[in-house]
């Protein structure tokens, strides 16, 4: 059974159809890259999978391990292992990052009927992960993303991904705003999470990220549909010739 099956998905936002019948299948262990011009609906797709309110699904299905994902509340999806690293991570003033990580992790574990982490176990885990991502402990004492640089915000997303160990990771433009070194560190962090039981959807505009996170499949989205799928070579092709060739296909 596929981990994620998006079938003929149609989505409206404020009376306007954004996704016009999108189909995508992701199996365990696979890494899929989604590329496409601005406004083609990449973030919309990721939001609908994660369950963000404000989107109306008018047709189609999303199955997660065969279960109807659209029937689940977004926190339930998170507990089942759907993780979205946001294109624009928000700031939560006054809520220490460490406290946030712990609250979220325990909420997920509770929803799965698992016990809470003990404080020492939790701290140990956070320390390990943050070290590998080059995140200083001081940063974790600050409010969630408050005053973080663009790169720090993205690294904080990867940190959470590593901590929560989701089975589906959706990374929405995690490379935007990262300098070369930060990109490598974040990509290493993501690669470390690649495993036979885990799949990833990597949304990006740049081939460069895919040099670090090498995808099994590349999809091109245009105007609310997947217009072409291929292997990693497709990304190189795009880099050379741009999206124009697909505009008509869409």
């Amino acid at each position: 059974m596929a981990l994620l099956e998006v079938k003929d998905l149609k989505v409206r936002v404020e009376e306007r159809e954004i996704l016009h019948g999108l189909t995508l299948t992701v199996n365990e262990g696979e890494v899929h890259a989604i590329m496409g011009p601005n406004g083609s609906g990449k973030s919309t797709l990721s939001h609908v999978i994660a369950g963000k309110p404000g989107y109306e699904v008018t047709d189609g299905q999303i199955l997660f391990r065969g279960e109807d994902l659209l029937e689940m509340d977004p926190d339930e999806r998170a507990a089942k292992g759907v993780f979205l690293a946001f294109q624009y991570p928000v700031e939560i003033p006054g809520v220490a990052t460490m406290n946030f990580l712990r609250t979220a992790l325990n909420a997920q574990r509770k929803a799965r009927g698992e016990g809470e982490y003990s404080t020492p176990d939790f701290l140990k885990k956070v320390r390990e992960v943050s070290k590998s991502l080059n995140i200083p402990q001081d940063m974790l004492k600050r409010g969630v993303n408050v005053g973080f640089s663009g790169g720090e915000k993205k690294r904080n997303e990867v940190l959470q991904m590593a901590l929560f160990e989701p089975s589906l990771c959706i990374l929405d433009e995690m490379d935007s705003g990262l300098d070369i070194d930060a990109l490598r560190i974040a990509a290493d962090g993501v690669n470390a999470l690649r495993s036979p039981g885990r799949a990833m959807i990597v949304i990006t505009h740049y081939q460069r990220l895919l040099n670090y996170i090498v995808p099994d499949f590349v999809h091109v989205m245009s105007k609310g549909r997947v217009v072409k799928s291929g292997d990693k070579e497709l990304a190189l092709e795009l880099e050379a010739s741009g999206y124009a060739q697909f505009e008509d296909a869409a």
Binding site: D73, V90, P93, V95, Q160
Partner: protein, 498 residues
């Protein structure tokens, strides 16, 4: 066994009171009849075995009250209160006469569960006694244990405080045992003529706390009403008087969380604080009275007068409040900055949900030179509630170098509630510097979704975001209180979204 002894003594005392001072017609009654008159004021004073000067003081207040009218300037609406339809005295007794857990409002039980107070303890806090014949030895033992516990804690408390010279007792006892202190300070901050509710309180107050910290003493522990509240019903007209003598320090915690779920409709408390030279008083409140049901019926009207007098040079008074309960809150803990270089602080979290109406804030009256004050107010409005910050900062002619900083932030949850900020600023001294900042924002859907995507439920997400919003104020609370307050904030916002 100190507990038994104490009880026996108390019973004796009551007997004696009734014998010597009992009001013939009322002698058998636990409650004064409804209504207010000079007779009733005398009855209360006699029940409390008060000296003549105290009765005189009450009567003056009562006569004054007759000439006053209820204030209407606050942004709150409620049906007219019939002041002749209230019992002004009820003998101390358990708050409720429920006989089994099944009879308690399930909503209340849920609240307790969420606060992590086990049900057996709830049984005790709610004043449930085991039914005759229903011999549940486990339950009875626990209840007794708990009572013993709280008595022994209270006693340890007393011994240690006594060693430090700190006086901490019910004000009714202080009136008898320390009349010179009470006479000197009672009404010296909130005069009997102050305002409608304070004047009413002066005439009929039933009990409350009295604290005196002698010169140079740092009170060895946080003082709290917690234990006393479980002991007796402090009633609807509480009176508190705290005096920090020169160079002393005291931190006082008022109220507690769920157990203080009083059913009295009208509450009109008065709190007076006096800080002499170099003294500091920190007064923290967590208020969680019944806010009314989901249709807006019932709930406490909380009309409180709280004022601190920084009477001495370099003195400091700091108010911290977390207001989550009551149907109507009318409350402005204030500081009179009389002593030179004195400092007043007001940190407030006021949460309203459902149909609650909150009109709260502070007054900082700068009289002395180089006095400073700081106001941090966080208002959170949810449901169909109305939340108003009302503040007054004044510098008088002689208040050279007065400084104030005010920051009022309001957070709206949903679009049926309202937040309002009404600041009054008045500087009669040109060297005064007053700064005022105010923000109003709506809770962000994107922030909530971020939290929910990470596994928090909608309600947990709201609780977390709100707790972040109020963090500056929570930090002012003593540690254990802050934890309780945090839980309470989340609980009081339940059902505020969706």
């Amino acid at each position: 066994m100190p507990a038994v002894q104490e009880t026996v003594e108390r019973v004796k005392r009551i007997d004696v009171d009734q014998y010597r001072y009992g009001f013939e017609t009322l002698i058998d009654s636990e409650k004064a009849p409804k209504g207010l008159s000079e007779e009733i004021v005398k009855f209360i004073s006699q029940k409390k075995n008060e000296p003549a000067w105290m009765l005189q003081w009450r009567l003056e207040a009562y006569r004054r009250w007759l000439t006053m009218t209820e204030p209407t300037w606050a942004r709150v609406n409620y049906p007219k209160i019939d002041f002749q339809d209230i019992h002004y005295y009820a003998a101390p007794k358990p708050k409720k006469t429920v006989t089994s857990l099944d009879e308690i409002d399930p909503e209340i039980l849920k609240t307790y569960e969420k606060l992590g107070i086990p049900l057996r303890e709830v049984a005790m806090l709610e004043g449930i006694e085991p039914k005759v014949g229903e011999d549940d030895p486990a339950r009875r033992k626990i209840a007794v244990d708990a009572v013993f516990d709280s008595v022994s804690v209270a006693t340890t408390f007393k011994a240690e405080l006594k060693k430090a010279g700190v006086i901490f007792m019910p004000i009714s006892e202080a009136i008898r045992e320390h009349p010179e202190l009470v006479q000197k300070y009672l009404g010296s901050v909130v005069p009997t003529s102050d305002n409608f509710y304070a004047t009413l309180n002066s005439a009929v107050f039933s009990d409350g706390s009295f604290v005196y910290v002698p010169p140079g003493v740092r009170c060895p522990m946080e003082l709290s009403t917690y234990f006393r509240i479980n002991e007796r019903n402090t009633g609807q007209f509480e009176r508190t008087l705290i005096i920090a003598d020169k160079g002393s320090y005291v931190s006082y915690l008022e109220g507690c969380t769920a157990p203080q779920r009083d059913e009295n409709q009208l509450h009109a408390a008065v709190v007076e604080l006096v800080a002499l030279d170099d003294a500091e008083i920190k007064y923290s409140t967590v208020q969680n009275w019944y806010p009314g049901n989901s249709e807006g019926k019932g709930g406490i009207y909380n009309f409180v007068t709280k004022r601190g007098d920084c009477r001495g040079a370099n003195s400091k008074i700091s108010w911290t409040q977390v207001e989550t309960g009551s149907a109507i809150t009318w409350k402005y803990p204030s500081c009179i900055l009389r002593g030179d270089n004195s400092r007043g602080e007001f940190y407030s979290i006021a949460i309203s949900n459902g149909f609650q109406q909150v009109d709260s804030g502070t007054k900082m009256i700068h009289l002395g030179k180089n006095t400073s004050s700081r106001i941090i107010s966080k208002g959170i409005a949810a449901g169909k509630s109305q939340n108003t910050y009302r503040g007054l900062v004044t510098a008088h002619r002689k208040a050279t170098g007065a400084r104030n900083f005010t920051a009022c932030d309001s957070l709206l949850i949903g679009d049926k509630c309202g937040a309002h900020t009404v600041p009054y600023i008045e500087a009669k001294n040109s060297s005064a510097t007053f700064e005022h900042e105010a923000t109003t924002s709506k809770i962000s859907e994107d922030v909530l979704f971020y939290c929910i995507q990470r596994g928090l439920s909608q309600e947990e997400a709201v609780g977390l975001v709100v707790n972040g919003f109020v963090k500056d104020v929570l930090q002012q609370l003593p540690m254990e209180f802050a934890v309780e307050a945090q839980k309470l904030i989340s609980i009081s916002l339940e059902g505020s979204v969706g």
